[in-house]
């Protein structure tokens, strides 16, 4: 296997594309890491489904207020200018298209923009949370993910095999090997690691990569 980005590096790359002044929702888990890599000088306002806008970093251990948490049930703090609101208003922000960016994890992303990220099948207890709302809310719906599954199968696919979270909803995928936009139901390769050939990248991708103007995916050690 060729060299690939760490999760932190994928998060770093995704963070570079968040514009100054953006309203952003970061999914539970891996996507929360994106906040760490916000470029200096940019202001980003974070939204969490459970009714807080403009929250800040985690408080020091022992100083948590468990009534002040994010959607991942982690304690957070408030920035000046924060606000509280109930769940219907919170999802009005989401569903109403008021968020600029949502960043989510994925099991599979199809070239049509379909996303599967909530269920690995009927065996476990199903749990969906706010994922199905978020994919229809933000102006840009970004996915961060390893390029392949743990056993080496493509996560960027022709058609999702797993239960869908949303149809035609993903804008951009940041993977361990590449940055891929979804344009007119095609994967458009925007950047790839310089160390991997287009052929090798295509070989671990489950649908055709349109590769007209491809930049280098260059990420610092983070």
């Amino acid at each position: 296997m060729t060299a690939k980005l760490s999760n932190a590096q994928i998060a770093w790359r995704a963070a570079q594309d968040i514009p100054d002044g953006a309203y952003v929702n970061l999914g539970i888990g891996f996507p929360e890491m994106v906040a760490k890599f916000k470029p200096d000088g940019r202001e980003v306002i974070y939204h969490t489904e459970n009714g807080v806008l403009d929250f800040g970093e985690a408080p020091p251990a022992g100083e948590e207020d468990w009534d002040l948490i994010n959607a991942g049930k982690k304690a957070v703090t408030l920035n000046p200018g924060a606000s509280f609101f109930h769940h219907a208003d919170s999802f009005a922000m989401v569903r109403g298209g008021h968020l600029d960016v949502a960043i989510l994890g994925a099991y599979e992303v199809a070239q049509t923009g379909d996303l599967a990220n909530w269920s690995t099948g009927p065996k476990s207890v199903p749990a969906v949370g706010g994922a199905m709302d978020l994919v229809h809310g933000a102006k840009r719906v970004c996915v961060i993910t390893d390029h392949v599954t743990k056993d080496g199968r493509p996560k960027l696919v022709d058609k999702c095999a797993l239960p869908l979270t949303g149809v035609g909803c993903v804008t951009t995928v940041y993977t361990s090997l590449a940055v891929v936009d979804i344009v007119n139901a095609r994967f458009v390769l925007r950047e790839k690691l310089p160390s991997i050939s287009l052929e090798d990248l295509q070989a671990v991708t489950g649908a055709e990569l349109v590769a007209d103007k491809v930049g280098d995916l260059i990420v610092p050690e983070v």
Binding site: H47, N79, G81, S83, A88, D89, V94, G97, H98, G137
Partner: protein, 239 residues
Amino acid sequence: MNKIQTDIDEAVAGIEDGMSVMIGGFGGSGAPIELIDALIDRYKRTGSPGNLAIINNNAGNGAVGIAAMIYAGMVAKVVCSFPRSTDSRAFTERYLAGEIELELVPQGTLAERIRAGGSGIPAFYTPTSYGTQLAEGKPVAEFDGRHYVQERWLKADVAIIKAEIADAKGNLTYNKAARNFAPLMAMAAETTIVQASRIVDPGGIDPEHVVTPGIFVDAIVEVAEPAQEEALLRAGAQS
């Protein structure tokens, strides 16, 4: 992030001919008189923005606010629940002359359609207006043995609203019953422009007391002692 603008004319400069404009207020309470006046001034100077579709609970009173917009000739359509007032000549004359289109919407349906517009809900069902003229042509459905009318969301290009306190991030509070439609319009418009009586630093509004979170607001101008439409009318304001 700083959404504060110092020039009220600049704040409304993006409002163009033919746009739909939600205007906060219920009668005189909450009417953003200074933002309206800035629009009228520009229209009188430049002939733009004209041909506007106005969304408000009412259709103007006397010769100030929305009535002054109508007298100026900027208004092509009014979407409202109650186009009557103590002096609604401005609207009535143009309407009866066929110069202004009216879309009459029950008040609660108007509020809910605007909220739906801001919330990504393209349509909903309401018992309101079922079996009446105002439901004609609208889909009807039965739920649990009762009939309901399907109503569509209502959005606008711009909202102009009046707030009490604002911060640079766009968080707002309102003054008493002047709140009315403003928080909904802020959600439903592509661009929301606010006149606030007072601007404070971010954090100056308790996060528990924010009524409109800043995500719904694009521009704020301070109007420290705003005119109150009803008070203007009672003082005998003329166009």
